[in-house]
């Protein structure tokens, strides 16, 4: 199981802030692909991925128990 976190426009598109996904092995890119398929109405082109609260590249391995967050372009300040 991995834990997915959604924010801002993606949270609205998904209709939820978090969900669990059954998971054995793969990379951040695989999860991104899963999310694109699951939420096709959301434009993921500028989304960054964080695993366990750190930005990662798409080839980062993701293991069961990890928290994966989709980070749309930020706009704090």
């Amino acid at each position: 199981m991995i834990y997915l976190h959604y924010f801002a426009g993606l949270k609205e598109a998904a209709g939820k802030a978090e969900e669990e996904l059954s998971w054995e092995v793969g990379t951040a890119a695989d999860i991104l692909q899963w999310a694109k398929t699951s939420y096709p109405e959301f434009d993921f082109s500028a989304v960054q991925i964080a695993v366990n609260e750190e930005y990662v590249l798409e080839d980062e391995p993701v293991q069961p128990g990890d928290h994966v967050a989709f980070i749309p372009p930020v706009s704090g300040g």
Partner: protein, 150 residues
Amino acid sequence: MGAELKPFHVTEEPINGALYMDYVTHPEAGAVTLFAGTVREWTNGKRTMYLKYEAYVPMAEKKLAQIGDEITEKWPGSRVAIVHRIGELAISDIAVIIAVSSPHRRAAYEANEYAIEQIKKVVPIWKKEIWEDGEEWIGDQAYKPEGGKA
């Protein structure tokens, strides 16, 4: 004097900038810069009624602390505190406070500006503008709700 203050904090409560100024002030500092980001009513001709901020709180606080570490490395002798508010904010409310003290003023100004620029790039916080006739997540313009506005 701010004994319990978290120097890198994301909060739903209104922000008191003076507490952060006190927190970074110390005898070796000769300058303190206090930046307040406030809610603007008009943006590109559109009138904002209020803003809604959302954050990935644990990661945002970690990133704020990282910015603090970068500042003390780049501008030795500086002390930093940053707080960002989330939730619904009214016009002129304080969204962010960045307090930096340094031995001399140039570093305090530069480091403070560095902090806000980094916040706008890497800290997972999002702002939604709510207008009279609609709303939009800023920085996320690619997303169009079904049949949405251009």
